[in-house]
């Protein structure tokens, strides 16, 4: 009975994963096994250390902002009458539906320093022109902005569903127990949403660490390789520079850490599920 499942997992999960790991242990010409040397070399490389730092900054900042903005949007939507909710929800979901490569092109145009809308608006209110994609810190922030713009609707829709699943009577009980709106949020809403928050943050962290298209279209890793994340750097090293084993090593770099994080997060989710639901 489970044979098809085993076949699917072996063919579509285990084999590609092991092949990637195997690739990462080969030399540049893929003729000899060199163990973990690719990882050693990478860690000695200053550009790669920059990539680790930028990837972590990008993923952590973007996920935090997506979660906060998503929660704020969900909270607002939850408190408008059901009748009007649908159209607002639909409109807010638009960024998530547009293919990111396409929408990022739009952002790229908006970030253009001389002739585009954002700087024009800034100038109109007396602000300075900002070199959005030309200066490292602004470029880093730009990449995060676009990722948040693209990903926050997903958090919003998940949190909206979670908010709707909290029984009204718990809020009524809290109101009678003496809770203000804020205390209700802290002591009832958030604890009741902990599982969905853990899962969305975990999954988004994994997906954001693996993000490629936004960086590729917006900055292509520049200026001076300072906005590269694992995926875009892996593509540059593995495909553009032709060192496939080292590219594989780059893309596998975060895997052990994320696997450990995922293990603990999911274990916590399971435990709470058993205790509460």
């Amino acid at each position: 009975m489970t044979l098809p499942l085993i076949a699917v997992i072996a063919g579509l999960v285990a084999w590609p994963a092991s092949y990637a790991i195997y690739l990462a242990t080969l030399n540049r010409r893929m003729t000899a096994f060199i163990g973990l040397d690719n990882f050693d070399i990478l860690l000695d490389n200053e550009t790669f250390r920059m990539v680790i730092w930028q990837s972590c900054f990008f993923a952590v900042t973007a996920v935090l902002l997506k979660a906060l903005i998503g929660f704020w949007l969900a909270h607002m939507l939850h408190h408008i009458p059901t009748k009007g909710q649908r159209k607002w929800r639909g409109m807010l979901l638009v960024p998530w539906v547009i293919p990111p490569a396409l929408s990022t092109l739009g952002w790229w145009w908006m970030f253009e320093p001389s002739y585009s809308s954002i700087n024009w608006l800034l100038n109109a209110v007396g602000g300075p022109s900002i070199p959005w994609l030309g200066e490292p810190w602004w470029a880093r922030i730009s990449v995060v902005i676009v990722n948040v713009w693209y990903g926050a609707p997903f958090f919003m829709i998940m949190y909206l569903a979670a908010l709707k699943s909290v029984p009204d009577q718990l809020y009524e009980a809290a109101a009678i127990d003496g809770a203000t709106g804020w205390q209700g949020l802290i002591h009832v809403t958030l604890p009741m949403m902990r599982n969905i928050i853990s899962i969305t943050v975990l999954f988004s962290l994994i997906v954001t660490f693996a993000n490629y298209d936004i960086v590729r279209v917006l900055t292509n890793g520049g200026p001076r390789d300072l906005t590269h994340v694992f995926a875009s750097y892996a593509f540059q090293v593995g495909v553009l520079s032709g060192n496939i084993p080292r590219g594989a090593a780059v893309s596998l770099f975060m895997f052990p850490l994320l696997a450990v994080v995922a293990f603990f997060v999911l274990r916590g989710v399971n435990r709470r599920q058993r205790e509460m639901a």
Binding site: L170, A173, A175, I176, D177, Q183, H187, P191, M192, M276
Partner: protein, 367 residues
């Protein structure tokens, strides 16, 4: 002091539907008042308005003499037990009970003392570390009550707290609630659709129907002297029998003439009360327990004997219920279990006319 006063309370929803149509009610300090009625009668809405969970459309609510119309639930000093308990699933039993005190910034030692005391009263001391999911329905109900008790509020509000329990546990928890009230003596307003709960728990019962109060009174008074046909039919189980009748002057005084030629004499002491209605079409009301078998040498006062043919006979153990028809109206009699009653066989019955009621079908008032 925690009296609760309702003055001309109205609850009107969008579109002009009125759930509560201007009720007045005075609840004394330490009193246990039960609001009872069928679903949709406005009893839960009334309770929720007292709690502050529902806005009032018009009227005044005062708790302990202070007007609370615009005061949020948290500042009304009330505690509420919900039908589905509404325990916080992520908190332990202890934290569920301590939550209200914690929000009110009570010292830790005082919180601990109160929670343990409530746990002792409710016999849930060994459950304090558990989460609600690990509790049975009855235990959750106790925790919900504990959460109310620890607060030591001015008023307890109960919203159908026993509806989710099975029959046996319901009876047990009913006793428990009564015991708790006898211990803590807090003013209590209790909503239920179950008239047995209402009768057994209440100092006074408030019967509601279609958003108005039909009658307020101690359980025994509602049972013996219902004011309206609704109250007469709602209080008591099995429900009171209603038979269309005419009130006529007979040879020995007033008599109730039922369809099918049965005439039952009205007790002499009711004469003054009923004379004005002589010759009218009325409803004759009598409870099943006042319609019994005829015992040998039965010489009870005001007894009227007639014959009926039961369609169904239900032996209950301590009594037997016999169902028959008088001109289409379904009638139930409560018999001694030793009575040899059988479907289709004639049975002499005795109506205790001292317990009869006459109802004006136009106004539905008991005469």
């Amino acid at each position: 002091m925690a009296q609760v006063t309702l003055r001309r309370i109205i609850k009107e929803y969008e579109g002009g539907v009125q759930a509560v149509k201007g009720i007045d009610l005075d609840i004394a300090d330490h009193e246990f008042v039960v609001l009872v009625g069928p679903s949709g009668c406005g009893k839960s809405t009334t309770l929720r308005m007292i709690a502050g969970l529902e806005e009032i459309s018009a009227g005044d609510i005062a708790i302990g003499g202070a007007l609370v119309n615009d005061i949020p639930p948290r500042d009304r000093d009330i505690a509420m037990v919900f039908q589905n308990y509404a325990l916080y699933p992520h908190m332990t039993v202890y934290d569920n009970m301590a939550f209200g005190l914690m929000l009110r910034k009570f010292p830790k030692a005082e919180i601990d003392r109160r929670v343990k005391e409530a746990a002792r009263i409710l016999d849930i001391g060994m459950l304090l570390d558990r989460k609600p999911k690990a509790l049975s329905g009855g235990q959750r109900q106790r925790v919900a009550m504990g959460r109310a008790i620890v607060r030591d509020p001015k008023v307890f509000l109960f919203d159908e707290p026993l509806s989710n329990l099975d029959a046996k546990l319901r009876v047990q928890m009913r006793t428990e609630i009564k015991k708790v009230h006898q211990t803590v003596k807090t003013t209590t307003i209790y909503v239920t659709h179950d008239q047995v709960e209402a009768m057994t728990l209440a100092d006074r019962v408030v019967v509601m129907n279609h958003g108005v109060i039909e009658q307020v009174g101690p359980p025994q008074e509602l049972y013996h002297n219902p004011a309206t046909r609704f109250v007469a039919g709602f209080i008591g189980s099995p429900a009171m029998n209603f038979i269309p009748c005419r009130l006529e002057q007979g040879g020995a005084g007033l008599q109730v003439e039922l369809p099918g030629g049965v005439a039952l004499p009205v007790p002499a002491e009711r004469k003054a009360r009923y004379t004005a209605h002589q010759g009218r079409e009325l409803l004759f009301g009598i409870r099943p327990e006042h319609l019994t078998e005829v015992r040998p040498n039965d010489h009870r006062d005001n007894m009227a004997v007639f014959e009926a043919v039961p369609e169904v006979v239900e032996p209950m153990g301590m009594e037997t219920l016999a169902h028959f028809r008088v001109d289409g109206a379904e009638i139930c009699a409560r018999l001694d279990p030793a009575t040899p009653a059988a479907p289709g066989r004639k049975l002499p019955l005795a109506a205790d006319m001292a317990k009869m009621h006459l109802i004006d079908p136009k106004s539905d008032k008991v005469l």
